[in-house]
Symmetry: C2
Subunit: 413 residues, 2 copies
């Protein structure tokens, strides 16, 4: 079994072919969820699935499950998957790689005439990106019961079109009730979307968990005044106080390595005029870490620092938590399946905690799950210049093959 390998050229060719649908001038892909282009992409992948002998099930939120039977079809399937919708200025690999890696695993099993004990399924989930319709990870979210089908159906794009209408229009509003579809184990291969593997010169990232995140809006209110006539000691400069908090956000993250993250990404200054001391500054705060204890500690330190700053400066500082996603540890059995496969194949590897969300987070609520990361160029994704090396994509797919076989069981022929 150590000899088993997928066909890297075929995987690459399929990735490039799917990337033609919605291809952008800059080499990326724009294929927003439930558009005509998404339908074309779905149709192509489903066609490939049928050609590989798989049967197709579509659920009411448009998640597609492509199934290769096993020797014992009473067993829940070992599933892999991801999504094929993209960001408006998306790349060729985010999501698409996870789906087509699954297809390549099945094609390889077919070529080698390998029969598995449990069935194998390749899924693609509806609207992972959330660019056209919110919330993100919609298909897997409905599937695991994070929110209702009705909520998802009612979501509208900027033109007022709903998910329910658009699913029906493109022919992907299926019959199966979301979630009424057993999963024995779930794996997802994905480009890292970060620079860690590339920086360390590793090929495979074993993903023990996805970070939790805590999002805040912070508003500092001072007093706007003329930059010239107002002495330093009589100022209530909202920006200066805001910069102290912005720096503390990063300091908090540094205190909880290696997975602590602290980011201020969005800033608005009022009145935003060159010769006026800012009277109000509004900014976002994004804290992440790998487990609840650490993230809660970071949250508590942020609150304490805001309180101290309010008291030190006398300015009004409002802090609202606007989102919270708990950390998602993956199942030890799936993580070790990925680790074992990587070791068996001899790829340079390290653990990489995912900082971004994936459908696997929601799948993990229902079944043992794990993820496999491969490097992407400069850690860049959600960008038309997103890039990955064919040999890395091939390696990740090989790991997927071996991990799925470990879980599904190979029937000796």
């Amino acid at each position: 079994m150590t000899d088993l390998r997928i066909d890297g050229d075929r995987l690459w060719a399929s990735l490039m072919e799917l990337a033609q649908i919605g291809a952008t001038a800059k080499g990326g892909v724009k294929r927003l969820a439930l558009t005509d282009l998404d339908k074309q992409g779905r149709d192509l992948v489903v066609q490939w699935g049928r050609q590989a002998g798989m049967s197709i099930t579509i659920d009411q939120i448009g998640n597609v499950f492509m199934r290769r039977d096993g020797a014992n079809n009473a067993l829940p399937p070992v599933m892999t998957g991801s999504h094929i919708d993209t960001q408006p200025t998306g790349g060729k690999f985010d999501g698409n790689y996870g789906v087509l890696a699954g297809l390549e695993v099945v094609r390889t099993l077919n070529d080698l005439n390998i029969r598995t004990e449990a069935p194998i399924e390749v899924a693609f989930w509806t609207n992972e990106e959330g660019s056209r319709f919110v919330p993100v990870m919609m298909g897997s979210g409905v599937f695991c019961g994070a929110f209702s089908l009705e909520t998802a159906y009612a979501a509208t794009d900027i033109d007022g079109k709903t998910v329910g209408e658009e699913l029906a229009r493109i022919g992907y509003r299926g019959d199966q009730v979301p979630g009424e579809h057993p999963i024995g184990a779930y794996f997802e291969t994905h480009i890292e979307q970060g620079p860690v593997l590339e920086d360390a010169g590793k090929v495979i990232g074993v993903v023990p968990a996805v970070m939790g995140l805590s999002w805040y809006d912070c508003v500092v209110t001072g007093m706007e005044a003329h930059a010239g006539p107002t002495p330093m000691g009589l100022r209530k400069d909202a920006l200066q106080v805001a910069t102290v908090i912005m720096q503390e956000v990063v300091a908090i993250a540094h205190r909880y390595p290696p997975y602590g993250r602290g980011t201020v990404g969005m800033v608005q200054v009022f009145p935003n005029s060159r010769n006026v001391i800012p009277g109000e500054v509004k900014f976002s705060i994004d804290l992440r870490n790998v487990n609840d204890d650490l993230l809660n500690t970071m949250h508590a330190e942020l609150l304490a620092f805001i309180d101290k700053t309010r008291s030190d400066t006398g300015l009004t500082i409002a802090l609202d938590r606007v989102s919270y996603y708990p950390p998602c540890p993956f199942h030890p059995d799936c993580v070790s399946a990925v680790r074992n496969a990587t070791a068996r194949l001899g790829y340079p590897t390290m653990d990489v905690v995912s900082g971004a969300g994936h459908d696997a987070i929601y799948a993990a609520r229902l079944a043992p799950s794990g993820m496999i990361f491969v490097p992407c160029k400069d850690g860049i994704s959600h960008n038309e210049i997103e890039d990955a090396k064919p040999e890395h994509l091939e390696a990740g797919c090989n790991v997927l093959l071996h991990a799925m076989l470990e879980r599904a069981g190979k029937v000796d022929s």
Copy 2:
């Protein structure tokens, strides 16, 4: 002579009457330069001037000089003035007070039948605010030769109308060549536009100088990346580096008290998204101080800090100086005339260096000049809620009367 006082009620009544032209619902004034409303305001002030027995001269940039002859008309006039154009959301006092205080001085001299040795003139300068046409302080700037009449004429508003056309249209494109109008000494009364007098409980600010200012655009370029997958140690967070510079701007100002000023008023973050590490931050820097040595030292410290930060962080940091106005010390004789008058009248007083620009800066290039400040509520100006107390406006006008009399000489009757 110590007994001489202006009529505070008459001054207030004139201020309130002029404020009706362009009055806003919130109690402010919108009377942009060279509009129909500006013409109405000019006509009213000129009418008041004629009623007070003054002769009127208008120069080619629309500056208006209202003259009360002296005993010796070969002497250059002792002039006072300011402007009557306002910001779009301006107040009743900024500029208008300086002009009507001059008118009140003349009315008082008339009432008391006082003859001066040198002539007295009350000027109002065109487009001080610069809201509709740039540059600011246009009339006094052309008058002193800071820039040419042609440059000023060619300035356009957002509708493409030029200063030259608009001056002609409202009937204030005069014949006199700007600057060909002698000035023996120049005084300007003005609301402080800052909180210093109010904070100190003083009534009269003696203004030894106007601060110089140095304006910069700073751009920090890092690398935008996902807030989750990118570890703290691999980030090039442009905002974090920018905050360090923003704080240094204020620290530099604090190192050169009491007149050092450092302000970051305008900030733009790219891409300005909650979960993206900022790749670029652009912000303004405003440094001010009372003399060239101090301002140059602050400038040098800013440059050195930028160099150090560039070297410490490895990020690209561009700093461009976009404007420089040198500090403007007022003439000792005029400053002492104001100081003497204030002492003679017994008003609580302190020195206040002006942090904002005034027509007096340009007048000072041609003649000994000085300014008189009175408190304004909460230090606020350029705002419809701008406010000042009648007794403070009266006090400033009394000081103006005495200072002008000291310079012009009172002919004993």
